[in-house]
Symmetry: C2
């Protein structure tokens, strides 16, 4: 049988993947590609499609794209779908890919999906590097800045993380990270465990599975202190309450890895492959959200395709205890309630918010919401009628759903829908702050630029939208992801220069949290997406 | 690509396997087989070789048999090895297979191993049958026999379990089970949980993954009350302390399944695929020994290839808590110490006995022993010098190793080798009884008939072999596996009619436990291997 490399080596994306050969998977009677074209299509698929449809193409957010279904559609229909997208949530790609490329991808998905290689702990260890030895770590900040109001900002397509001084609004560093960092998390305050210098160290996870450690006490230019790689494809990361461990989850291979937070040395790898709630075996059981439970010595690991929330006790890695909490598919993104006991996570394909009780390590409740809930960092606030509530945006509909989340003092409202707010367009991120009267929602999923470039703000009291803010009017740019500053007086919104992704033409727009008026624009950023305020994230201001 | 069925359907072995096609896996430049011959070789391999070498041929007890290694050896050398075996533990197969069959298997192992299909919970549910409805279960024994001294006896190649009355020595039933039942377990006394009618219900697990439920209170002919199938290839089973659940482990797929002990309805399936102690991903991570911890509401599941002992809390299946205790490869067979707290299991390829503390769910110790330890049901007794001890036979050497197993009152001797007894040949099973002065060891692994047909008995006081008992002299028969009767006055040894496996020419030889003299022979059994005395197994007399 002819062997073909799983060629992600093309952009040096996947160290080690080139080593293992795979077979050229032509389905009998189906179309085929040359090895070179197959490799190109494979890479494009991995970078642009696999996140929604899966490497093995079994489907998740996107539909199943196995040959048995694709052959029925045929080349022409597939090219059309990929070029122009569909009503049901499939993006258009005619702005990113050439006609020729789209034709290759359309052929590629009519062939059997190649299975990418595994990654062993040894491989990860070989990819671990120290840029600054532990003994040279400073004992106090080497700059005079208020680092607790720093924002760590993803510059997606530049493969960088920018550090922005929240007081002065200066971009003080652009740190080289892996390809398309997806999430960045730092050490946080914890009820039982105590990390040193909370908020000082930040850890990035890239789509390529690279993990970078950032030390905010270092001088700009020196902040990148260590690196490793724990998968070929990954999305989320977290730091243990004691600051000793970092955990990151793989989309491929389907596993999570616990690393030494000092050196990033990988210590433990645990497979998440297993059975879904229907009892079917899932090889591509990807790790979506990962958090540290604020009150327990445990990580919370959401396994997307199996609908299982894993509560992983990190107090003894050699005798690792995991509770697998059955919920619903496909688990994606979540956030804790204000007490830190309950984790609220979207099971998007089930149109549910799943609530896990981390005190008893069990399912607390499942709340029916609208199409494809997606809270991003999430939002908790107090509603006059329902008491403490949580809220989410939806990928599938312009709507914010709000539910009670205080079972102790408001048992009648707890885990029930309190109210809904209609927005102009489907969104990805919701955000608020305890000092703010407002809740902010973006509309990233809406196809029309006017809506996609606007965020909407509603009043916690009246539950009415009070302002629609057009964040940018530039073609090819989108508005997304809100983050408050340290004292809750400002809201920062990203302008993602999607079309001009190679240049620093993205920006962050800063709004006054009270007047909702624009204060300033921070320029010189390349494709800024997520951003993380040190103080708010370390103190669970969600 | 041509599709070929994973054809275990030939003997109806694997219901459901025929449904999924696999590709005919010819290695470039390597030899190949017709589809028909491939299917035949595949079946022979699955039945006779996979247990030691693995379905995916990565190696375990036997070596790696992947094409990259096999192609180097070539057809002629491979045929020789398969025909005549090797010194290092590879059996000869010239007595079981024809020259032509051996040639096909030799070619087969030079081709890529086909991956058998998965099995979903739904498939298992469809294979679940009630022969006697729950409402018709008797409320007391329907026969006047002393059922607590029954022996449940495996008739391996007949696909039956015989029920032998230990008082009268009558074979009162031959129950139809799956193909080659491997282990049978019943409800047991438990420190925390309490099952009804302890010792009444017995559960068989076959090599084909079939599970049968036997009710010893029924009249002969009516004892088989339910059936299911939980894998295509399996070895061990256990019943929860409260008698509510049955758990069985798969060799393929690599998972364990928890069933309702009343109906055998499969409730939960958990994959055991994961990383070994070196951090390499193992797809074929087979479940070997499964037990219920006598003092905890937990199952103990040994995952052979990953070297992980899983302690599975069965008190909440929806929020299933598992502690994965890292130990050594390849975990195989084990037994509890007399306190019921410590599980002692062979990690055979590491030449270690692994000890797990089920109270704290952690690794207690690893004891270095000789080549390939294999205790079977195991043996615990009191040594004058070392205090409470455990012992094991070895597959790789004629030796019984004995270690201290009482860390509370004999901490200096605990988990250290106390002494060794040389036997004439490598064996598989060791056994004793608290009322007996002797320890019995078989020598099943020795190639010479005189030794293989003899068991050896040593004195607990003198530590010396006091008797070598030739159990049979018939050609083609082997002696194996000892079991005491209810009051400890008799020892039963199986005579396995290997060569004449289709006929009831096997027997059980009963010895006086004190005088070591033969008392009687129970005839009319087809290939008896393991046997399980109701009282001793229910009361942890190991
Ligand atoms: C698992 C996961 C998390 C962690 C959730 C949590 O911590 O609760 C997450 C969080 C995030 C966060 C962190 C939010 C926060 O404030 O904590 C951001 C900024 C983000 C920006 C994007 N995400 Fe994300 N994201 C995925 C996965 C995830 N994203 C996908 O699988 C998906 C749908 C498709 C893909 O191929 O990646 C996807 C698309 C996107 C985007 O298109 C965004 C907008 C830009 C990008 O980087 O591609 N995701
Ligand atoms: C996992 C496992 C157990 C459970 C151990 C425990 O409970 O602690 C077990 C127990 C057993 C027990 C239960 C012992 C007891 O008293 O509890 C018996 C009788 C037994 C007869 C055999 N076993 Fe067994 N056995 C395997 C697996 C296992 N056997 C194999 O993988 C192997 C090596 C090769 C194979 O392909 O099956 C194998 C060969 C054999 C035999 O050749 C024996 C002698 C006859 C047969 O059935 O094939 N095994
Ligand atoms: C943001 C998520 C997302 C991404 C990224 C994505 N898709 Fe989709 N895709 C979807 C969704 C959701 C659907 C279902 C749309 C519908 O039902 O209208 C879909 C549908 C499809 C379909 C039609 C399937 C059918 O049976 O109707 C094809 C083909 C397809 N996608 C191919 C691709 C390819 C190729 C890529 C990458 C170049 C890609 N998709 C990227 C979400 C995505
Ligand atoms: C009881 C366990 C067991 C069974 C069953 C078994 N083998 Fe083996 N096999 C071994 C062991 C152990 C070795 C290593 C022997 C040695 O090193 O001398 C081995 C070695 C081999 C080798 C030589 C590998 C090498 O690289 O040297 C081949 C080929 C082989 N086995 C094929 C088979 C086939 C085919 C079957 C079934 C028809 C089979 N085995 C059944 C245990 C087993």
């Amino acid at each position: 049988m002819k062997k073909l490399k799983f060629g992600l080596s093309a952009i040096g994306l996947a160290v080690g993947m080139a080593a293992t050969g795979i077979s050229l998977p032509v389905v009998a009677g189906g179309p085929s590609l040359s090895e070179k074209d197959f490799e190109e299509a494979n890479l494009m698929y991995f970078q642009r499609c696999a996140g929604c449809h899966g490497v093995l193409r079994k489907g998740a957010t996107g539909k199943n794209l196995e040959p048995k279904n694709m052959l029925k559609k045929g080349q022409a229909r597939l090219e059309k779908i990929i070029s122009y997208g569909t009503e049901g949530g499939m993006n258009n790609f005619d702005d990113i890919f050439t006609k020729d490329q789209i034709s290759k991808i359309a052929t590629y998905i009519q062939m059997d999906p190649p299975v990418p290689p595994e990654m062993s702990l040894d491989q990860m260890k070989k990819l671990t590097k120290q840029f600054v030895p532990l003994k040279d770590y400073p004992t106090k900040p080497l700059h005079g800045r208020n680092w607790e109001n720093f924002f760590v900002v993803i510059e997606r397509d530049a493969g960088k993380a920018a550090i922005v001084d929240g007081d002065t609004k200066e971009v003080i560093d652009h740190i080289d990270t892996g390809y398309a960092v997806h999430v960045i998390k730092g050490t946080e305050h914890h009820k039982k465990d105590h990390a040193k210098d909370v908020g000082r160290f930040w850890y990035t996870i890239g789509r390529d599975g690279k993990v970078n450690k950032i030390d905010l006490w270092q001088k700009p230019g020196k902040m990148l202190v260590a690196e490793t790689q724990m998968a070929y494809d990954a999305r989320d990361i977290a730091v243990s309450g004691d600051g000793k461990y970092v955990i990151a989850g793989g989309y491929w291979p389907a596993h999570f890895v616990i690393m030494d937070a000092e050196t990033l040395e990988p210590l433990k790898v645990v497979s998440t492959r297993g059975y879904n709630t229907k009892g079917e075996f899932i090889n591509e059981a990807r790790v979506a959200a990962i958090y540290t439970a604020p009150n327990e010595s445990a990580f919370i690991v959401a396994v997307k395709e199996t609908g299982k929330m894993l509560q992983v006790d990190y107090s003894d890695l050699d005798n690792l205890t995991i509770t697998a909490i059955e919920s619903a598919e496909f688990l994606h993104d979540g956030f804790f309630d204000p007490s830190g006991r309950y984790f609220q996570i979207a099971a998007n394909a089930s149109n549910k918010m799943v609530v896990v009780d981390t005190k008893d390590a069990k399912l607390e409740q499942m709340i029916d919401v609208d199409k494809l809930p997606h809270p991003g960092p999430g939002a908790n606030w107090i509603d006059e009628e329902c008491g403490p509530v949580g809220g989410t945006t939806h990928l599938g509909v312009g709507l914010v759903s709000v539910w009670g989340n205080d079972p102790i003092n408001h048992p009648d409202q707890a885990w029930k829908l309190c109210y809904e707010v209609e927005t102009d367009g489907a969104g990805v991120f919701i955000r608020t702050h305890e000092k703010s009267d407002y809740v902010w929602a973006d509309q990233l999923k809406h196809p029309e630029p006017e809506v996609q470039q606007s965020v909407q703000v509603f009043d916690k009291k009246t539950r009415e939208i009070v302002k629609t803010i057009r964040v940018t009017e530039d073609e090819g740019k989108a508005a997304l992801h809100m983050e408050f500053n340290q004292d809750g007086t400002e809201v920062w919104v990203s302008v993602w220069n999607r079309a001009d992704a190679k240049n620093p033409t993205g920006e962050i727009v800063v709004y006054d949290a009270k007047t909702l008026k624009e204060k300033t624009r921070i320029k010189g950023l390349t494709t800024p997406t997520g951003k993380f305020n040190v103080f708010n994230r370390a103190n669970h201001k969600t």
